[in-house]
Subunit: 202 residues, 2 copies
């Protein structure tokens, strides 16, 4: 069985053994001939996939009334994978979603690392620093690099922790965010787990 | 007496009665002939002003050891204006600084409203919403507009409140941020107050 999670930058494939990525601007989906179950938040790619009969959109097997109409299908799949916890999916955007006893509890969207780096740089060249994930989040900073690192990380960190739930980290930057959430569980296959559950149900 | 606070987008003048702004890309500082006390975080403009003898840079009257070397001079002036509190200066960047018993307690930098709007838009067109400052920050959102509004505002809101100090709001977006900090004191002249204090000391 082949699964695919399509975002704004890449196709993320998983054959239940190994996973690999392809660039959305380069990869041609017609090269895949066998049956493939997918989710897609990229509207341009979605239009193409809708014309390919072997690409099966898992979105149609979801009860959207449990979520909300405009939520990303990738967030839904991650939520379907767990029963309780807060999911932090760290990519170009970071989505944070709450699940309590298998019920969706809402969520929010925060900019991802590279996106936010660019944001500070756009404000002024003097704010063009990489974020310091070793920055002490317990004291207010007194240097430029930490003042943007703290500004990006501390409010986010406190908000995620405030829900007092197990934290599940997924997405391309999960391994970086575990530095500030050392007790979080990294699960890079969370979305695929949710997809698999939905396939079994359907 | 004429004061001027120069940022990344404008010259902000104050003659102790009224204030007005001029675009940094249009205004010609040589048109001012009388003595003017200024601060400037815009390195391009600073180079020009250094050649004009009637433009007096207040940065040289500051004891920088109380702060840190690369902090913006506008943040220092706002801090000089108060004895205790947390200052939120909301412009293209939002700087947050702590002062306790006239001692600088550190600070951080967060993206301003327009900057962060652009950030979400850059991630995806589906995140191109204006922030909802009436968004309920006590519950996790279940719609797209509030999920970015909450993501931008709630972590920031909680961080500012966590210091348990009086909040001073200044900068171009102070009147918008008072919606989420209703107990804050808006003081659009905070930087000029600090500048005035430094002039009197010098």
């Amino acid at each position: 069985m082949l699964l695919c999670d399509i975002g704004n930058t890449s196709y993320h494939f998983f054959d239940l053994k190994k996973d690999f990525k392809e660039d959305v601007n380069i990869f041609n989906p017609t090269t895949i001939k066998k049956k493939i179950f997918y989710i897609c938040v990229n509207s341009k790619i979605q239009k193409i996939l809708k014309t390919l009969p072997n690409w099966i959109d898992l979105a149609k097997y979801i009860d959207i009334s449990k979520y909300y109409k405009t939520i990303g299908i990738d967030r839904i799949m991650a939520c379907e994978a767990i029963s309780n916890g807060v999911i932090v999916d760290a990519g170009s955007a970071i989505t944070v979603d709450i699940v309590k006893n298998n019920v969706y509890g809402g969520g929010f969207i925060y900019p991802g690392i590279n996106t936010m780096n660019q944001t500070y740089k756009n404000i002024s060249d003097v704010l063009d620093y990489s974020f310091n994930f070793e920055c002490n989040l317990d004291i207010m900073p007194k240097n430029s690099r930490d003042s943007i690192s703290y500004g990006y990380l501390k409010p986010f960190y406190s908000e995620v922790l405030s829900h007092n739930m197990n934290i599940f980290l997924t997405g391309g930057d999960a391994k970086i965010f575990v530095k500030i959430f050392p007790n979080a569980k990294i699960d890079e296959k969370l979305i695929f787990k949710g997809m698999n559950k939905i396939i079994k149900k359907a």
